[in-house]
């Protein structure tokens, strides 16, 4: 019996990605707690295993052993579909992300487009989960999540359009290959394309924080106002899957930031490019995401929308126009 090598490749990538996402989700929780602890002069988890390294396993076991309760009168189909719709697009995003010159599941020519198409589905998952749980707090919170995500999708996509103009391709592998050869080639420092490139990176980063519902934009789970927000009714692993989806989205977002702005697997000094540089950059960005979470308090909803509509979108547009003008002239 012969196995189609293409099928085998797909299966291996699928298993690999799911393992990568699961370990990331588990150990980013650990990292988050450790980092939060050290920022607040505490230690963080330490009792379960060395340095608390088995804490995610213990947490996972606890979540799995909890009973799955579907609230009375809830739409049980939508209620079950919610976490799946949050998790699946997050996994699908990994298909086109090139982690190094050779490690990529599918090198699509429209990779960038595919990722942003998949990434926008997770809002739908949150909305359906909240709607299906028949809880007015969840529905209110889901409305907030949707308006937040719509608001932040726009400046993010404007920045992406700018990046597509600068690199001239939507193929993520090619986006990286245009930046190879040292940090002065990276898109963040590409001042010939636009002097506002670092600002574009900043806009992308802020939008990514808001898209993944991270603090200071974590309106989806504003526990002081909304009792846990859109997933109020989810017990045990249903809740856990929402969180895994959140962390998977952070990994996707930081990977995209690495690819689009920081040169992907390129070494800053032009030596030894490879997977390790990608991971170093990605985890440095994830560290920053967590660092931001434990620095700033949650914003109010109005200032959140004001920031997007009054600051990020105009600045992103100005950058787009400036970049197109400079590309035409130079």
């Amino acid at each position: 019996m012969t196995i189609d090598p293409e099928l085998l490749r797909l299966l291996l990538y699928l298993v690999g990605f799911i393992a990568f996402i699961a370990t990331n989700a588990a150990y980013l929780v650990w990292l988050e707690r450790k980092e939060a602890g050290h920022i607040q002069c505490r230690i963080g988890p330490k009792e379960v295993g060395p340095f608390g390294l088995l804490q995610p396993v213990a947490d996972g076991l606890k979540l799995m052993t909890k009973q799955l309760i579907i609230p009375k009168g809830a739409d049980s189909f939508l209620f079950r579909l919610g976490p799946v719709l949050v998790m699946t697009p997050a996994v699908m995003c990994f298909v086109t992300i090139p982690y190094s010159d050779t490690i990529v599941a599918r090198n699509l020519d429209v990779g960038l487009l595919a990722i942003f198409a998949f990434a926008s589905v997770n809002v739908l998952g949150l909305l359906l989960g909240a709607w299906g749980s028949r809880n007015k707090y969840a529905v209110i919170s889901a409305a907030r999540v949707v308006s937040q995500n719509v608001a932040y999708e726009i400046p993010m996509l404007i920045v992406i359009v700018t990046m597509v103009m600068v690199t001239g391709t939507m193929n993520l592998h090619e986006v990286v290959t245009t930046q190879l050869g040292g940090f002065w080639h990276w898109n963040v420092f590409r001042f010939t394309a636009s002097p506002l490139m670092p600002v574009a990176f900043l806009i992308y980063f802020v939008c990514m924080l808001a898209e993944t519902n991270r603090a200071p934009f974590d309106m989806a789970e504003a526990e002081s106002e909304l009792i846990a927000g859109a997933f109020t009714e989810y017990p045990g692993m249903g809740f856990g899957v929402f969180f895994m989806g959140e962390y998977a989205n952070i990994v996707v977002g930081t990977s995209m930031a690495t690819i689009l702005f920081l040169g992907g697997w390129d070494c800053p000094f032009g030596l030894w490019p490879g997977l390790h540089w990608f991971l170093i950059k990605m985890y440095a960005l994830i560290f920053t995401v967590i660092w931001i979470r434990w620095t700033f308090p949650r914003t109010t909803f109005y200032s959140l929308l004001n920031l997007s509509w009054k600051v990020l979108i105009p600045v992103a547009f100005a950058n787009l126009i400036l970049t197109s003008a400079l590309l035409k002239v130079l």
């Binding site: 920022i39 002069c41 505490r42 230690i43 931001i292 620095t295």
Partner: protein
């Protein structure tokens, strides 16, 4: 327009200042005390509940059953009894009970004791589910300490 741009620049700058503060704390020392594994060294003036002092020479307590501590105690938490024995000059303490549920740790009993037979103990891990667990027989505690 000018105010708008200044707002953005100042806002971004203040966010960066906030982040430098937290990262300094991140690399700063951890101040947590791992309590059950580590403890703070006990201060010499710590006031726990009172305890009878062991007289090293005689091997017993120093109490002469003058009842001064019982009389001075404002909350009436001390009860003691003594008896006259053959061949011993002073009375001998036979029973000393402290009802710690009432004690306010004022220390008057320690100050008033003519023979310095009372002192503060350093016990602070005092947990119980019943009130009766806080009624101490200090004479028994002294015996236990001797062994």
């Amino acid at each position: 327009m000018k105010a708008y741009i200044r707002d953005i620049v100042n806002g971004t700058w203040s966010l960066l200042v906030g982040m430098t503060i937290t990262i300094r704390y991140f690399f700063g020392p951890v101040v947590t005390l791992q309590y059950p594994h580590q403890t703070v060294p006990m201060k010499p003036r710590f006031r726990g509940h009172i305890d009878l002092v062991l007289d090293e020479r005689k091997g017993t307590n120093k109490c002469i059953v003058c009842n001064a501590c019982m009389k001075t105690c404002p909350s009436g938490c001390i009860t003691l009894e003594g008896e006259k024995r053959e061949g011993v000059k002073q009375k001998v303490l036979t029973y000393y009970q402290l009802d710690f549920t009432k004690c306010s740790l004022c220390g008057l009993c320690v100050e008033v004791c003519p023979t310095a037979a009372l002192d503060f103990s350093k016990d602070y891990n005092l947990v119980g589910s019943q009130e009766s667990e806080f009624v101490f027989d200090l004479l028994k505690r002294l015996e236990e300490r001797k062994q």
